[in-house]
Subunit: 429 residues, 2 copies
């Protein structure tokens, strides 16, 4: 399915694609060194986008890029690309991710994809391997959205999904203006934005969920990103004395909310597949032990990889909410907080990741991503895909976030081979 | 069943018991005048115990008592009793309630029982009726417990359920010491506390629930006060990403909480009778749209007039909570926040209220009180009972709290006849 590897590979004593391996210890050391910047002292990292900590971390990664001889460019939204030329010109095969974190983040989320990309380029460089196409590693601004909403901002702007001037005017949770902060930390660059479409984009990332670990699998070939539907529901009933109001007279907003919690679970179980449904927020008023709640605000988070299935889930949830409200004699007001269609990754990239992992003798699983990633923005421009490695206990956005060193190394080696094959392949029409 | 009325009644042109009526307009005017003190401007009243507003209100009611020629005594916890002598000595037939309110209170809760009692004494005085036993009207300190917990404090101390010195050291929500506030407003009196046991106690109160109104009934003959069991439950699960955590991997504290909400409703419906069950408080952590809740705190309020039934409800609820926790793979920690046994009012007083209401051609219903009242404390000392009148829409502890003027008058007239008959009856052995 893929073209033959570029002629340089394997020639004149040079290593063959599929046999070269990264230096896992060097990669691990860089993850730990980068993780010191913004360290929370408990293994975690607080490095919000465009803060002083973000600048220090950017400076360190840029230094590593320059030390490796990469051509570093910074674009108008602060995305940084380190490029290694190929034997031919043309758009590069790009990898990368982000180095900002949430306030209670770990050291792997995002950072792994950037530093593994750097490790791949260093491995090829040290082995004297030249690729046909250029290879590049990027880190995108404000992927987490923890300081400036929306999330995946840098890659969104890179892909042309938001104008750079609009992005400058975004206001952070601390009141800062994004454009001002970008200038302040010295990362308002001159490279054009939107950026040039890469030949392909591949992102290595931790799974942030429990699936790979629980199945004893090391590599995930990510098939796409789940579509997301967030609904907020406000039930208004009648607040009443918990002692003097017989059951038959109640219009209990808490009861309606509880019924939605159970209905969301039942919906996910009934639809099956990768459908998930979550009530994560539920606030009562007046929220007192002896008062039947007059008001309940709750959210329903629905995700599915299939747009049609997601729409069906939304419809069923709305019907259920209306049925519950009518039965309890409360009113239900609904509004959409967010809605993203599912993203399907390029089937050729998914197959290449899967085949490469198998060739490297790893247990591999195809799975969707439940979280958003820069790769879904790059998928608007070029064939894109992702490689997942296991998260211990499925934990992420938490100081306890961890991926075992052998899994970090395994993911980087799959990334190495995938990038190399994409960089050297004959153009597939 | 009750003894003959005292010989004075009906003699020499004096009105007969059962025919004399209160002045409903005078009572209504006093309710409105007292309601001006601490008025919130929206029909409501904020008159927390032992505040300046409480003092002003106390002073007004004491003035009305003195104007009527009552002997006013104030005890060590600030309970005020206005006494009208009978033709014989001995313990008085007591009525009353409280004049403190919650912060978002109405003008009827408590105040009605006090001012209706005053109106009864004024009606008898103006009609020249002398009773065999003394009659008295009281208002008890801090019934609401909205500033100093526990509620029903004044009547609790009056009945000997708490030592007065212990009560002085109670600390209010504003940091004030109860004893200091009692002195400050001039209501730390010399009358003994605990007080003398009355011959009987009868309290007129608004229902604060919807039962009488919805059945078109005007008078409630209150059979007792429901026992109360408050449980707090904390579920600890695992907080997880709502997108990356498949349904089968979840230990969702919100789901467990939602299941308890539905189980509490099902329990009340299954047990029937006057059993009520309420989840009024439910707090999630971290309470975010895209995070499976790791922690949920909720309360279950169970009430029943029968102690055995209440214990059975508690047992079933605990079993249900443990079953839900085990099924979801979360831990459940439970603690009791409050536990009161049911109070059963004196059957003779209940029958007298019911018979009197019927004789006055009102539709009447026996019903339990779901809320606590001073009468349940007095029931420890003497035969006690209560008269309920309808609350419009069942609303109370709310500026919209309302009882129709004709129902206020009807309740006061039943109180008049019940008190008079108790004051004149032959001693029933």
């Amino acid at each position: 399915m893929y073209g033959q590897a570029h002629r340089v590979s394997g020639a004149a004593g040079l290593p063959e694609v599929g046999k070269l391996r990264v230096d896992g210890r060097r990669l691990q050391a860089r993850l730990e060194e980068l993780g010191e910047i913004g360290s929370t002292g408990d293994g975690g990292c607080a490095r919000l986008a465009l803060t002083d900590e973000d600048r220090t971390a950017r400076d360190l990664v840029v230094t590593w890029m320059r030390d490796l001889g990469l051509e570093v460019s910074i674009d108008g939204i602060g995305n940084v690309v380190g490029l290694r030329q190929g034997s031919e010109s043309g758009p590069p095969v790009l990898c990368g991710s982000h180095i900002d974190t949430v306030a209670t983040g770990g050291i792997f989320d995002g950072n792994l994809g950037v530093l593994a990309g750097l490790e791949v380029l260093e491995t090829l460089e040290r082995a004297g391997v030249s690729t046909r196409r250029p290879l590049a590693v990027a880190f995108f601004t404000d992927e987490e959205g923890a300081r400036f909403a929306p999330d995946m901002l840098g890659s969104l702007v890179y892909a042309g999904g938001m104008g750079v001037e609009d992005a400058y005017d975004l206001c952070g949770i601390d009141g800062a203006r994004l454009g001002d902060e970008l200038s302040r930390i010295g990362y308002l660059g001159a490279a054009p934005c939107p950026g040039e479409a890469p030949y392909a984009y591949v992102e290595l990332h931790i799974e942030q969920g429990p699936v790979l670990e629980s199945h004893g699998e090391v590599i995930g070939a990510v098939t796409g990103v789940q579509g997301i539907s967030w609904q907020e529901i406000v039930f208004e009933g009648q607040f009443n004395h918990a002692g003097t109001t017989p059951m038959a007279y109640r219009h209990d907003a808490c009861y309606a909310a509880g019924a939605v919690v159970l209905a969301a679970r039942a919906l996910a179980e009934q639809l099956g597949g990768d459908q998930v449904a979550t009530v994560g927020r539920l606030d009562l008023h007046p929220d007192l032990v002896n008062v039947v709640a007059g008001r309940a605000l709750l959210t329903v988070d629905l995700r599915n990889t299939d747009e049609g299935a997601l729409q069906a889930a939304e419809r069923q949830m709305v019907e259920e909410i209306d049925r519950i409200a009518a039965a309890e004699g409360v009113t239900a007001a609904r509004r959409s907080l967010a809605r993203f269609e599912p993203v399907v990754f390029d089937s050729r990239v998914v197959e290449l990741v899967e085949a490469t992992a198998k060739a490297q003798r790893h247990r591999v699983r195809r799975l969707p991503s439940g979280a958003g990633h820069d790769a879904q923005m790059l998928a608007r421009m070029c064939p894109a895909g992702m490689i997942f490695v296991p998260s211990v206990g499925g934990v992420s956005h938490n100081p306890a976030e961890k991926t075992l060193p052998e899994h970090v190394e395994a993911g980087a080696n799959v990334l190495l081979e995938v990038l190399w094959r994409l960089a050297d392949e004959e153009l597939v029409s």
